[in-house]
Subunit: 215 residues, 2 copies
Amino acid sequence: MNKKPSWAVIRRLPRYFRHLRELEALGEKKISSGNLAARMGLTASQVRQDFNCFGGFGQQGYGYNVGDLKRSIAEILGIDKPRRAIIAGAGNLGRALIRNFSFPRYQVELVAAFDVDPCLIGQEISGVPVLALTELERYLLENAIDIGLLTLPREFVLPVAMRMVAGGVRGLWNFTSMDLHLDLPNIPVENVHFSESLMVLSYQLENNEGINREF
Amino acid sequence: MNKKPSWAVIRRLPRYFRHLRELEALGEKKISSGNLAARMGLTASQVRQDFNCFGGFGQQGYGYNVGDLKRSIAEILGIDKPRRAIIAGAGNLGRALIRNFSFPRYQVELVAAFDVDPCLIGQEISGVPVLALTELERYLLENAIDIGLLTLPREFVLPVAMRMVAGGVRGLWNFTSMDLHLDLPNIPVENVHFSESLMVLSYQLENNEGINREF
């Protein structure tokens, strides 16, 4: 690694991965930094600068090998490693994620859901068993879990997050409107803010012309 | 406006808004660019540079007035203007948004949902009527709609998006895994990519120390 990647570069990596996966699906073998940049609304120099944080990924003059580059970025992102996840909250949003999100694409196995609703406990949703939230501690004693998804009412987010972390969960993926900041140095938290994209959409409704979508 | 804001600045505006709303809720009246920057993982100079794109928002030496700054950013984002939205797809994700997302906070009124499921059509979800998807054209003839939410199976996204746009919907908010690019210059599309935050979380599980979360 040549240069410590900034947070902005890290947040761009998933977009590179997504575009490379699409290119691979289209049968593309090679892509130049210029073409990749154009696809993503970046400049070629920005792409090369980003990639230099990770050693550059091969010769610029000949373009990048799409498959190799995709695999290298997957490796940096750690999505080549199998991980296990649980989800707390099997309401509408929880069920939508359990049923529709492509966990296996990112090597994530969703092994259990937790809820307080007696009608749901004991059921399976797309093969994922729903357990009682009171069983969380016991379950985490017996199962090593990497990622905890939070899709429960906002008043339960903080206590359930703390119980997950106490039980050994290594990172949290929070879908609630409650912005979660644990300030535990080794426990990353990703808050999904639906509202941010609504506000960006709203901005674009106001300023419809000539936005250069570089990101 | 002093300088045309870049896409990166535009995407930071919702985060400024969110932090200012939190500060206001805490009763804070004034904030310096340094303190706002620290809260958001930016530098003071970055904050001032961002704000200079919109005229600067007042005297730096004395700090910003939290309420005024929040209102100015809301105005730039256009979330001070009432907008009307419809949602196509009243499955789990659609219902989760209808029931739990704070539309009124962003002056958005969700006026109707559309679905193909005869068990849902004719029902109301949190006061939002569910209509037959076949009624979309007629409904759009009679109602001016600003924003169309897409929460339906991926194979329906493109045709329904096109029907919405043909009916006068001005912008699309897409929650499906299908990346939507209409390439219509005046119709902004915001794709919500859950997978990106999972990948960033995964990166942080791999590289747990010393990430400077500036964004």
